[in-house]
């Protein structure tokens, strides 16, 4: 008798678990920003569940640093999310391994999809769409208006050309009584991904590019060499930029701390400075990217991809539509203080009321992103390794670029 009861209980619990699982869509957000969590948990999910009573949404917030590891292990274990957020540079790798599903058939169902403009192109790999951008970030130079005034420079007229940028940096570099630099005119990254993104901006400004359409490296061109030599000149010869990375968030950010006059920043840096050093932040302005052949600045978008292993595609697409609607995109970007990919969001209060975010929006006209190639992370690391060697003077610039190109070509 007891055995029978246990059997019935087992069957019922399995059935209820199955029913519960079938109507639940798992969505992973990248980052653990508190306002984002609140927006998703308290606004976006309740809204969706109210409109779609049969579907439950289970959101998880994964720190960026753990995202790839957790995705790999969860997919390997067969418990991956239905929708997950990642940077656009990950698309090619996931698409190549058939982890993510092409969403061309569903993209037209998204509310006013044309509103995304060209940002949707970032999600296209081998002619198919895999990605809906949600929020973006750009890398622009910010500067201290008070330092400009002290050096006799007009803060309303920031540098435009490479020559001006160099001259401004020289004028703004100050030495203390001990003969050591107390304020660097410019803060250029000298290691890691930041170095690659900053140098690539100079490369593109100089009319060059990273890869051709067949994904062969072309950065070891004369434009690339000139861009790298310019970078090295600022760091090693003029010494207007530190040869080690000056970093810090909030009130210890080099701009807020006053140890640099101009520095590459992302929107998040600005928000942190505003929070922890509001007085100093009032003296900080953001400028458009410099120009040689053209203006260019690194921008990237994070967005949603749909797992190929999703069990309930219909519900998953409904959730995707909801989280990429105008209202959701505005809410998420307001929470993150980031760049929305939808054109209509430019009118949102958090952008129109903030001239610095406005400058990032303007700058997005000159945006370039990471190339969509399957081995991008490894290729990027190789490029970083050789750029760092060149910038730190342990390898010649042409040699470094050629070695990087050779090593990256061998990845194919």
């Amino acid at each position: 008798m007891i055995k029978k009861q246990l059997l019935v209980l087992l069957v019922l619990s399995t059935f209820s678990l199955f029913c519960l699982g079938s109507g639940t869509v798992k969505i992973w957000f990248a980052g653990t920003n508190k306002p984002l969590i609140e927006e998703v948990e308290n606004v976006l999910i309740p809204e969706f569940e109210k409109e779609n009573p049969g579907i439950k949404v289970k959101a998880e917030f994964i720190p960026w640093g753990e995202l790839s590891t957790k995705l790999t292990t969860s997919f390997a274990g067969g418990i991956g999310p239905d929708i997950f957020m990642h940077g656009q540079a990950a698309i090619a790798g996931f698409a190549e391994k058939e982890i993510i599903a092409a969403i061309d058939d569903y993209i037209y169902g998204i509310e006013d999809f044309a509103d995304f403009g060209s940002t949707l192109d970032a999600g296209v790999y081998r002619g198919k769409s895999y990605f809906i951008p949600v929020f973006g970030s750009g890398r622009l130079i910010a500067y201290r208006t008070d330092f400009f005034q002290n050096a006799g420079l007009n803060p309303e007229e920031p540098p435009i050309t490479w020559e001006q940028l160099r001259n401004y940096a020289i004028s703004l570099t100050k030495k203390g009584n001990n003969g050591r630099v107390s304020t660097f005119g410019l803060n250029l990254p000298v290691e890691g991904v930041d170095l690659q993104q900053s140098w690539t901006a100079f490369l593109i400004q100089n009319g060059g590019g990273l890869f051709d359409e067949n994904l062969n490296p072309i950065f070891n061109s004369s434009e690339g060499l000139e861009a790298l030599n310019y970078y090295i000149q600022l760091v090693q010869k003029d010494k207007v930029s530190p040869d080690y990375t000056l970093q810090g968030m909030g009130n210890v950010h080099p701009l807020a701390a006053g140890t640099v006059a101009m520095s590459y920043i992302v929107l998040e840096d600005l928000a942190q400075m505003k929070m922890y050093s509001p007085k100093e932040t009032e003296k900080i302005k953001v400028m458009l990217p410099t120009v040689r052949e053209e203006r260019a600045s690194f921008y990237s978008f994070a967005g949603f991809m749909v797992s190929n292993s999703t069990r309930n595609k219909e519900d998953t697409i409904k959730v995707l539509n909801h989280f990429t609607s105008k209202k959701s995109i505005t809410g998420i970007n307001r929470a993150l203080n980031s760049l929305p990919p939808r054109q209509s969001c430019v009118e949102a209060d958090f952008i129109s009321g903030n001239p610095d975010i406005g400058m990032f929006v303007k700058g997005s006209k000159y945006a370039f992103g990471n190339p969509n190639m399957p081995n991008w992370v490894q290729a990027r690391d190789i490029l970083v390794k050789y750029l760092e060697r060149a910038v730190k003077g342990v390898m010649g610039s042409q040699d470094a670029l050629d070695s990087a190109a050779k090593e990256i070509s061998a990845l194919k």
Binding site: S68, T69, T72, T73, F75, A76, G93, K97, E98, I99, N178, R180, E191, G192, Y244, T245, L246, G248, V252, P254, A257, T259, N375, V377, Q378, D381, K385, E388, R389, K392, V394
Partner: protein
């Protein structure tokens, strides 16, 4: 009849014993032994973490042996281990000798020295990044009081590995101190009293009584230290990401990059296996030379 009963009781006792260790045994088999063999199997494949693995024979092993990057990172890992292990042992033994005294309030110092051990490595690494910061770090602040220019502890390739090693020693001494303390408290006081009567001073007592009797503890400490330092990953990843100029790219960092940045699980498994075999051989070598020393004595 009595014999049968005796056998049954003995059998029952054995069965009960096995029943008690079954959960631990099952846990270890499932989560420790099985993954080792699965990893060995993966090291012969091109597994990328997502798609089905294909058998590639010894390709991963041949590839890694031909990569200078692998040998360089192996060399750095050994450099780190040779820097950390002896200093860690000396300092922890010294601390153990100090806290072994029965002075009032010594419990506080024992707890204080042990505190870094229970603090997560990521948190410790971030705190030391602040300490080492060339701009706002407290270490450079003290140096500036003596007009010493800022030292780039983590930004200079010639300093970075040593700076991480110092942090690692600071964090690890508490653990070894406790092990040494247990060893010291196991040495009979009678031996020291007898030596004092014979006229041996503290210095002589240390080298003739304490050190020889602590030998099994040294062997344990060295073996565990070899295993943990050669697997070093977290502090390198958090504090320097393997830089500057790859100067802190240890084998652990290389394995992580291959597995989770480049999705080359098969290749990463092969590297893990080579590292595992090296650690096993070194640990065995350490045990063997100490056993040989014991036999000779």
């Amino acid at each position: 009849m009595r014999k049968i009963m005796k056998f049954t009781v003995k059998k029952k006792m054995v069965l009960t014993a096995y029943l008690f260790i079954l959960p631990v045994l099952a846990f270890n088999l499932l989560f420790r032994v099985a993954p080792i063999f699965m990893s060995l199997n993966l090291s012969f494949t091109d597994y990328d973490g997502f798609t089905s693995p294909n058998f590639v024979g010894f390709e991963n092993y041949l590839n890694l042996f031909s990569q200078s990057e692998f040998w360089q990172s192996m060399l750095r890992t050994f450099q780190f281990a040779f820097e950390v292990i002896p200093l860690n042992m000396i300092i922890s033994l010294f601390l153990a000798l100090i806290v072994n005294d029965k002075i009032k309030g010594m419990g506080f110092f024992r707890a204080a020295f042990y505190l870094p051990v229970i603090t997560p490595m990521v948190a410790v690494s971030i705190i030391w990044m602040w300490i080492y910061d060339p701009q706002a770090g407290i270490l450079n602040y003290f140096l500036s009081l003596f007009s010493i220019p800022p030292v780039r502890f983590l930004q200079d390739p010639s300093n970075a590995m040593h700076s991480v090693a110092i942090m690692r020693i600071w964090r690890g001494v508490g653990w070894n101190m406790i092990i040494y303390l247990a060893g010291l408290q196991g040495i009979s006081q009678n031996l020291y009293e007898a030596a004092s009567i014979d006229g041996a001073n503290k210095f002589r007592q240390f080298f003739k009584i304490t050190m020889p009797l602590l030998k099994p503890v040294h062997v344990y400490v060295v073996t565990v230290a070899i295993i943990s330092t050669l697997q070093t990953f977290t502090e390198m990843y958090v504090m320097t990401s393997g830089g500057p100029l790859e100067s802190t790219t240890t084998i652990g960092v290389l394995i992580y990059r291959a597995a989770f940045d480049y999705m080359k699980m098969g290749y990463a498994s092969a590297m893990s296996f080579v590292l595992g075999i090296i650690i096993m051989l070194l640990s065995l070598f350490n045990l063997l030379i100490n056993k040989k020393g014991d036999d000779m004595n």
